[in-house]
């Protein structure tokens, strides 16, 4: 069981994530470590708990992109301190899967894709980002090199949905068992079904839940 002081510190860390207060984060993490809170506890009961709240508020339209980006920054600041410590103890390794992300050919938008990447990283996933305007070949190169558990495709434009369809088709032909998920402003669940993708997420928060669900099954 955790004592009162430890709980207080962990709550403070959650709060800093929710507020996007990256400036005070390093001090608070050091404070936690000095109080003998384990890095794994900081991650689970401080940082991830905070990110859960951020996710819920984003989903409900209470906060928006700027706040999420600030929270992600606070999260990243904390991780830069505790990640090396987590790595020293493989059993506490939180990494839950490797996701390769890219925006399809003809589309140069990366705001949505980056947000998905931030939220996935914030939930312990390893994220490989192959960038925007990514051809089928670029996706294949990435898959060959990184062997991700899930490949995520983004399209922001109504005019690049065909490229998304072609890319899903080509990847499914080459990698029958590779999980492919899609998202982006014009994309819907029915579109995802129609083009043969394994999953669709409406926003970055749902994308995290989707990846967790797909990897658990």
């Amino acid at each position: 069981m955790m004592d009162e002081l430890k709980l207080q510190i962990l709550n403070k860390i959650s709060e800093l994530v929710i507020q996007g207060n990256y400036k005070l984060m390093t001090d608070e993490i050091n404070n936690a470590l000095n109080s003998e809170i384990l890095p794994k506890e900081i991650l689970d009961y401080g940082l991830l708990k905070g990110m859960d709240v951020v996710g819920a508020k984003f989903r409900d339209g209470i906060i928006f992109l700027p706040e999420v980006l600030m929270s992600a920054r606070a999260f990243k600041t904390a991780m830069s301190v505790i990640e090396p410590l987590l790595m020293q103890n493989p059993s506490s390794n939180q990494l839950t899967g490797k996701i390769l992300l890219g925006t399809v050919k003809g589309d140069i938008h990366d705001i949505g894709k980056n947000l998905v990447g931030v939220m996935l990283k914030g939930n312990g996933f390893v994220v490989i980002d192959i960038g925007v305007d990514a051809s089928i070949e670029k996706f294949i190169d990435g898959i060959e090199k990184e062997n991700p558990d899930i490949v995520g495709l983004s399209a922001m434009l109504t005019t690049t949905m065909q490229a998304m369809q072609k890319t899903v088709q080509a990847l499914k032909e080459k990698y029958k068992n590779k999980i492919i998920i899609v998202g982006g402003a014009p994309v819907s669940q029915s579109f995802a079904n129609e083009i043969g993708a394994d999953g669709y997420a409406k926003n970055a928060i749902e994308a995290v839940e989707l990846c967790k669900r797909l990897l658990a099954s």
């Binding site: 409900d60 992109l65 140069i108 938008h109 705001i111 305007d133 109504t158 949905m161 014009p186 129609e194």
Partner: protein
Amino acid sequence: MDFLSKQKVWVFDGAMGTMIQNLVKDEFTCPEELNLTHPEIILKIHQEYIKAGSDIIQTNSFGANYLRLKRFGLESKIYEINSKAVEIARKASEGKIVAASIGPLGELIEPYGDISKEEAFNSFYEQAKCLDEVDFLNVETVQSLDEAEIIVKALRSKLSLPISVTVTFQKTPRGYFTMMGESIEDFVNRASNWDVQMIGTNCGEGFNQSLEIICEMRNLTNLPLIAKPNAGLPQYKDGKTTYSETPEFIQPLVEKFFNNCVKILGGCCGTTPEHIRTIKKIANKVNYDG
């Protein structure tokens, strides 16, 4: 916007991007490059909208700002691409009104992204240099009011033409907001400090939502209102992308738009000359019978 008083309501054109997609068979990446490589296709789209009844058509220059072209390696052609966009639209217009389409960067500006405010300003300033031959400047699909302000300032520092700004809002459980969390009221308030002559909304999830946004805006401003909604969200069936809101579907909504003080109505993604025909029919009633 002197021309606005000549008619009660005006018909804008429909989609450019999704029309290009249907007409261009080969792979292409940057739609604005077609002004140079396939001007006949852009001309044909404009002409179809004029034929369908558009009083105003819009240049194929949505993504032709410096930074966006740079992502396709086309920044050195920024003047050619924009000048040609205007030239093609003028040629098709048969004396009708020509608006310049100006879209956002598609990237985040500092402090949320890597683009500095100066870079953003310069990107639109460069684009503005070639747009002096249009009738007004239509800044559209804006999702950040900070960015909209930068765009308006950049255009204004180069051109004295009328400017319209149309924003894309998303519906949340708490109402309509931009991607950055700005409300319709925030937009109206901030726009009242900019030198813009018309405001409105474009893109989004369809005519119903767009109408709700316009109704909210109408209560907040006296500026003329402009709407260019999507034909719903795209669906994919049997290898083809289709849109749920047909010309028949939008007909009763078009009447409501005009009843709720929209001054200019057109369409965004998924709308076609057929949609414009429907809008024109009702606009004619409003202009000549009403």
